[in-house]
């Protein structure tokens, strides 16, 4: 990592330009992916990512450069490129950095780098054996353990120097079930912003069994019917509906340029009364948590929607300038290769008062989406889609039979108003969110909710 004096020198060089703000983001990330098939370790991929990103602002204009050659010649040459793009000038631009210290909210007990590969492959074997032990129809099991340790330091021309270490671990199991030539898969992917102590609470056995269970359900599933119908979306990763239908459209990246369906809607009603939602980057050791955002500001809990009223956007520094609003500490990026922008952290709908059973009452024909896959949204139009990985048809208020191959589509602005029941059973699930500043870990979450009407895409001919 660069020394404080070097950072001060580089920032001073940056400010000898028409820039009104300069920032250096430096990163050293170690990661390791261990993959096994049927319990045999096939690949270990260890990666060291190390580089810096330099950003200059002149009012609303931003110039950015990145490199992993951190020799002085290379860095100064990039700074010259940036100054040329923005306009150089000869001014006294001394920067004195003050390091900001704080208490780490995301402590790690077992650093993955201190554990032997043999012990880590044992975690994969445990998940593998549990999946195979579930049922003889489980014919293949893929497992992967991912460990990441990212150290960042962020320094800016306002004199702030701050560091953070982000650690995360994830176990991914995919089980394949086969019967009469029909091959189906099921997956489970728990993770946390923790070290390997995570697997004391969420055991590899649970994950292996869950992946096998979903594969077996899909083996018995029939094609999903299509059309508009009420849908119950289960807790945990079901929260991807809020992430896609609303979360992305509340990011300043879209809002600041008037490119979101929710631009200019602060203080107005955008969701049903029963919907309150937050984006909270402060939850200790959660998958999407950080001590600081990628502009060096302390992470926060942001109330986005309260009883259906839009209370806050997620704003980064540059878009804050565009919107005449303060940053909400929402700036994130995959790595030094990306200029940061407003992104989510751990985003979820808050618990309501309904019981799980009540949600099924009165549904003549609908869908119970127990496990969701990923999705995407067009923030400008609000149109979103996401996949159902485990679903059941509801008939006459009861779960009827499992269905496969379903997707849900709709318009974010409309769907938030169509949520008519919210349970109390809040749970989160882990995902990787892709957007302008790369792929980042985010938790999605919700209690079980009911949407009165949504378009279900399926293949059943009826």
């Amino acid at each position: 990592m660069l020394e404080k004096k070097q950072l001060e020198h580089y920032l001073s060089e940056c400010m000898k330009s028409e820039a009104d703000f300069a920032e250096i983001y430096e990163e050293l990330e170690h990661s390791e992916a261990i993959k096994a098939l049927n319990g045999k370790t096939e690949d270990v991929n260890q990666v060291i990512t190390a580089g810096i990103g330099i950003r200059l602002y002149k009012e609303l204009e931003s110039v950015y450069a990145y490199t992993n050659d951190t020799s002085e010649d290379s860095v100064i040459s990039l700074i010259h490129d940036l100054r040329d793009a923005l306009g150089s000038c000869d001014k006294d631009a001394a920067v004195n950095l003050q390091e900001v210290l704080y208490e780490n909210r995301n402590p790690v007990e077992i650093d993955y780098e201190s554990v032997s590969l043999e012990e880590k492959t044992e975690l994969l074997k445990r998940a593998n054996n549990a999946a195979f032990g579930t049922d003889p129809r489980i014919v293949k099991v893929q497992t992967e353990l991912l460990n990441v340790k990212q150290e960042v330091q962020i320094a800016n021309s306002e004199g702030r120097l701050i560091r953070d270490t982000r650690v995360r671990t994830r176990l991914m199991t995919t089980a394949f079930a086969s019967e009469n030539g029909n091959l189906q898969s099921g997956g489970d992917r728990p993770g946390a912003g923790m070290g390997l102590e995570f697997y004391r609470t969420v055991t590899p056995e649970e994950s292996g069994r869950e992946a096998a269970r979903v594969a077996l359900v899909n083996l018995a599933a029939k094609d999903c019917p299509s059309g508009k119908m009420p849908v119950i979306i289960d807790n945990g990763f079901g929260g991807v509906i809020f992430h896609e239908a609303c979360g992305h459209s509340l990011e300043a990246t879209s809002v600041a340029r008037g490119m979101s369906v929710f631009s200019g809607k602060l203080g107005t009603k955008i969701a049903a009364d029963c919907v309150s939602a937050v984006d909270d980057g402060t939850i200790p050791n959660a998958w999407g948590s950080q001590n600081i955002d990628d502009e060096g500001n302390f992470q926060k809990r942001r109330v986005l929607i309260e009883n259906g009223i839009l209370k806050s956007y997620m704003i980064d520094r540059l878009n804050g300038r565009r919107m005449n609003m303060d940053s909400t500490s929402s700036s994130r990026r995959e790595s030094y290769r990306f200029e940061p922008t407003s992104r989510m952290t751990n985003t979820f709908i808050l618990p309501g008062n309904d019981s799980f059973e009540e949600l099924f009452e009165g549904i003549e024909r609908g869908l119970y989406a127990k496990k969701m896959g990923g999705g995407s949204v067009n923030p400008q139009t609000g149109e979103f889609n996401f996949a159902v990985n485990e679903g059941y048809l509801i008939e006459n208020g009861k779960i009827s039979y499992p269905v496969r191959g379903a997707s849900l589509i709709g318009n974010g602005a409309e769907i938030l108003k169509s949520i008519d029941r919210v349970c109390s059973n809040l749970k989160t699930g882990q995902g990787m969110c892709g957007s302008l500043s790369g792929s980042i870990p985010t938790d999605v979450g919700q209690p079980t909710i009911r949407v009165s009407s949504i378009t279900v895409g399926g293949t059943a001919n009826e």
Binding site: K40, T41, E42, D43, V44, N45, Q46, V47, I48, T49, A50, G51, L60, E61, S62, V63, Y64, A65, Y66, T67, N68, D69, S74, L78, D81, L82, A85, L86, L117, E118, T121, V139, F176, L183, Q184, S185, S226, G227, M259, G374, G375, S376, N378, Q380, T381, E383, F384, N385, F386, A387, R404, G405, A406, S407, I409, T455, G457, G458, T459, N461
Partner: protein, 441 residues
């Protein structure tokens, strides 16, 4: 990095073979918003990936923090990896073979910063002036990137090639009442001075305006044409089915289908990394294996399984030169390169005329989640337009299309002639199918 020293140290530490793969990129990009330069980005990045064979096992290590004094630590870590691998599969690092000569297929003219600014400003003005319903130009940008990759190994391989690409991207948002739609277009530009700005703007603006006033439609099974862009996206999402790696693992839908008819007889699929009209020409893959043209599916019959060195060695076959990395830090996977469904002889208009009544799908969303690569079932959000009596009628949005890809590819009614390579490495023309389940109202 002293490559010879690294190889020497690895062999001395007990490695049988050792390989150094490097990928360097130099990039300059601009974005433009509301009449002004919005962002400028410059970068210079070098990534190194090391592979070694130790005790018969292949191990990987990728790093951007490459000082020769970290050499011993990294080699020791790679040795630990070899001890942890329990797969019986022997690792192979390739001996050098002659690679095909390739002449530069494009003549790049690098524009000055002022020329880029002029282009972006001009395109923005032209788009806004095209139609009063177009109210915003979004994500307009120019990027130019030069990439170099090299492979150096203990068996004497020493290969290097360089590739350049310049891309213009622009989006437009259009509004009619409360209905807002957007569309994006990107194109490779060899020379700003000869680039056809009118054609670019015309296509972008027509596409976004055509999306306005779209409605959903009644659920049912309808004849469908996947327009070239949508078909390319769908086919790309399923293109791993030809991978020798997934076939050997038994999780490709074509696992028992080699030599069998798998698609309609109207479908022929080729893979040719040397194809000159494609964006990138690769005379060797990321393992240094020379590449060549192959027919994967010949009139519906599955004729060639794609392999990298590892998947080929499982069945005592030869690599097909399809060992590519997603990035320098990713392991070598089996990937198609400049792969296409061979075009037919009918234009999209003629396909519509033949279909008479049905849906043309122009855009698909959610491909990263809404497909099952094992069963090939998919259910995806789509938009497009309804064809009535052989002609475009009204726009359609907020519907889903669902089918089983293998079954669908057996029910092809016609293959279009509109194949365009653009910047993709997998492309298809428009294709008409007998029927797909559409879910809407």
């Amino acid at each position: 990095m002293n490559k010879q020293e690294w190889i020497k140290a690895a062999l001395a530490a007990g490695f049988d073979q050792f390989e150094i793969y490097q990928s360097g990129t130099k990039e300059r990009s601009y974005t433009w918003f509301e009449g002004k330069m919005d962002t400028f980005t410059a970068s210079r990045v070098l990534g190194t990936s090391l592979r070694g064979i130790c005790g018969g096992k292949m191990v990987n290590y990728a790093t951007e923090d490459l000082s020769d004094d970290g050499m011993d630590r990294i080699i020791a870590s790679m040795k630990e990896q070899a001890g942890a691998i329990t797969s019986d599969e022997p690792g192979v690092i390739r001996s050098p073979l002659p690679v095909p000569e390739t002449a530069p297929q494009r003549r790049w003219t690098t524009p000055t910063a002022a020329e880029v600014r002029e282009l972006l400003a001009d395109i923005e003005q032209r788009v806004l002036a095209y139609d009063e319903r177009i109210f915003m130009v979004i994500r307009e940008g120019w990027s130019e990137e030069t990439g170099t990759r090299s492979i150096f190994n203990s068996l004497g391989m020493d290969l290097e090639d360089t590739d350049t690409v310049q891309i213009l991207t622009c989006g437009a948002a259009a509004k009619d009442g409360n209905d807002i739609k957007n569309e994006y277009r990107s194109e490779i530009v060899e020379d700003i001075h000869t680039f056809d700005r009118d054609a670019f703007v015309e296509k972008l603006c027509t596409d976004v305006l055509n999306k306005l006033n779209a409605s959903s439609m009644a659920s049912g099974t309808y004849p469908v044409i996947f327009e070239s862009g949508a078909m390319t996206a769908l086919f790309t999402a399923f293109s791993s089915m030809f991978s020798g790696d997934l076939i050997a693992k038994g999780i490709s839908p074509l696992r028992d289908q080699y030599g069998q008819p798998v698609f309609s007889g109207k479908i022929t699929i080729t893979d040719d990394p040397l194809r000159r009209e494609a964006a990138q020409v690769c005379p060797f893959d990321d393992e240094g294996c020379p590449t060549s043209a192959k027919t994967i599916v010949d009139h519906g019959v599955f004729r060639t399984i794609l392999h990298n060195t590892r998947s080929a060695s499982r069945i005592n076959a030869e690599s097909t030169g399809n060992g590519f990395r997603g990035s320098y830090a990713s392991p070598v996977e089996v990937s198609p390169m400049n792969c296409c469904i061979e075009p037919g002889d009918k234009t999209l208009k003629e396909l519509c005329a033949e279909m008479q009544n049905g849906l043309v799908i122009t855009t698909l969303a959610g491909l990263h989640a809404g497909i099952n690569p094992v069963t090939t079932d998919f259910s995806l959000q789509c938009s497009g337009y309804w064809v009535k009596d052989g002609k475009r009628d009204h726009s359609v949005s907020l519907v889903t299309v669902a089918a089983n890809f293998l079954e669908m590819m057996g029910n092809v009614t016609a293959v279009g002639s509109d194949l365009e390579w653009k910047q993709h490495s997998v492309v298809t023309p428009s294709i008409a199918f007998k029927g797909c389940a559409i879910s809407g109202k």
